[in-house]
């Protein structure tokens, strides 16, 4: 187990370093001189020289990367041109919305995707299965923002059950503010629930062909108990690992949904920063999401191994 953990952590670290080089390079390949990028168009030549020296931009590129990486490790992602504030604090402001949105989405995904996938697998080959699998594929083919717009039209504009946009912090308005996230999380959940549904179904069908399921049936256990005790438990091991990937991917998929619902999250921050040419913020958000993505995958992989008793001997 330990050698696996060490190896897996090692690969993640290497990937992370390589990804960081790409992210570092980003600010150097965007249109325009990075200095103008950082200072904006109104900078005087003196300011430019001062900053160029201060940032070490007159040094070799390798040294520049190392000093950038050092600052990043110390928690300094640079300054936002638009907000005139540290990028870390700008991102932190959006984190609450994004994390709550992703969490709520994952709850929908789990509550809808898994049970329906189980039903489809148990009724394998029937009309119900074909209907549910078809519906899942349809859901995966619908743009999230279109679902979002329709949810706004029906549940906000016509029925008035939920607010159509924005999100005031639950730390200021209390937990009732979560109602602002209901429609966005549903829109974001649709394709991901479809994915988990298909995965649950496929995983259940795989496991139900295993010899040990036949053994369980031979014992005289009722079909539903066979499903619950032998198929479901083993099949969900694979599904749970997909949950980690999905959660990590949601952080970036939320870009469109947060824009539709005007949520003050990291996703909308990216889009607005692109339009404002606020490159340090874009760079910072990409870095944060990639790190989160890699770390979540690492944690999922390791805990998956931990849950599987077969690993003890290896």
């Amino acid at each position: 187990m330990w050698s696996f953990a060490l190896k897996r952590t090692g690969t993640t670290a290497v990937t992370l370093v390589a990804a960081s080089v790409i992210i570092f390079a980003f600010i150097h390949v965007v249109p325009g001189d990075p200095i103008y990028v950082l200072l904006g168009d109104t900078a005087t030549p003196d300011q430019i020289d001062a900053l160029r020296h201060q940032l070490g931009l007159d040094q070799p590129i390798v040294l520049q990367y190392l000093s950038w990486a050092g600052r990043v490790l110390a928690g300094d992602l640079g300054r936002s041109i638009f907000f005139q504030a540290p990028v870390t604090s700008v991102i932190a402001d959006g984190a609450e919305t994004s994390i709550l949105l992703a969490t709520m989405t994952m709850i929908w995904v789990a509550v809808i995707g898994v049970p329906v996938g189980v039903v489809a697998a148990v009724r394998h080959g029937t009309w119900l299965d074909q209907g549910l699998s078809g519906a899942a594929m349809l859901m995966a083919s619908i743009p999230t923002f279109w679902v979002g717009l329709y949810l706004i039209l029906i549940f906000a504009a016509w029925l008035g059950w939920f607010p159509s946009s924005g999100y005031p912090s639950i730390f200021e308005g209390g937990v009732v503010n979560l109602r602002y996230l209901v429609l966005p999380s549903l829109a974001l959940a649709a394709p991901n629930a479809a994915l988990i549904l298909r995965l649950t179904r496929a995983s259940m069908l795989d496991v139900s062909r295993e010899d040990y399921v036949r053994t369980a049936r031979a014992k005289g256990i009722r079909p539903w108990q066979v499903v619950r005790r032998h198929i479901l438990r083993n099949a969900l091991l694979a599904v749970v690992s997909a949950f980690g990937f999905t959660f990590a991917a949601l952080l970036s998929e939320a870009v469109v949904t947060e824009t539709v619902f005007a949520l003050p999250g990291i996703g909308r921050l990216v889009v607005q920063s692109i339009l404002r040419r606020d490159y340090p913020v874009i760079q910072g958000v990409i870095l944060v999401i990639v790190v989160a993505y890699l770390l979540i995958n690492l944690i999922v992989d390791l805990s998956y191994r931990l849950l599987d008793p077969r690993v003890e001997l290896q």
Binding site: T11, V14, T15, L16, A18, A19, I22, F26, V29, V30, P31, G134, M137, L138, A140, S141, I142, P143, T144, F145, W146, L149, Y150, I152, L153, A157, L195, R198, L199, A202, A248, A249, L251, S252, E253, V255, V256, T259, V260, V270, V271, I274, L275, Y279, I282, I286, I289, V290, Y293, L294
Partner: protein, 286 residues
Amino acid sequence: MSRDVAILWLKPFIARPIALAGLCILLATVLAAVFAPWLSPFDPYAIDPVTRLTPPNTIHWFGTDQFGRDTLSRVIHSARMALLIGSGVVVFALATGVPVGVLSALFPRLGHVLMRMVDVLMAFPALLLALGLIVILGPSVANAILAIGVGYMTTTTRIVYGLTLRLRAETYVEASRSMGAGTIWLISKHILPNLVSPLLVQASFVFAFAQLGAASLDFLGLGAPPEIPSWGNMLAESRTFITRAPWLLFFPGMMIVATAFSLNLVGDALRDRLDPRFRQVFGEKG
């Protein structure tokens, strides 16, 4: 010979009426794109302030937008953009993914390095990668194709790599190698012909997801220029009039869903007739 091949490919669709329906929808989309100027009842760019935001009626079947432009005509013309983006992304993904995947599988040392690079690219979520590239390259149709294509280059490379590894281990390929077959011979006679069917499956899925990706970029204002009719652009514009003119939301969205759904159905049907050994490489996500 060619008739037999056609029957072989049509078989999965005849057995599955819903997949056949998907194929028909795709065909209709292609026809709409090709014959757009003749099929459209109006000029898709023609502005008419008098008839702005009219609901669907006998003259304007799909209604009109905030400039009085005919929605049906714009929906039909948008099929061109959809096909352009979709085929562009597929071509890009295959043109890059196939060589990288095949060479990585045949030359393990090179493959080790290349596949690690693919892993690094895969650490970037697809949409984020696309946005980052758009920032660097600037918004345009060609750049949208590139930005979306890079995300599917990685998955295509992985699939081709997995398939080629399996093919390489096949007895007849081993035999061919042991008899001194050169790499080019091996690739052209044994590897590529066997990749055609699985790549067709991959192409339909990539085409489907390219539709959704392009629609997202258009919607964010980072894809095709706003004056070009595309389903994503139409949805982005209709956002403001969502309560006053819901039909503006309905038709372009339906077209995206119909196209993506059809492609997924077709891909699924084709995947099911693949050799089971190859099917595993695709997993469930496609």
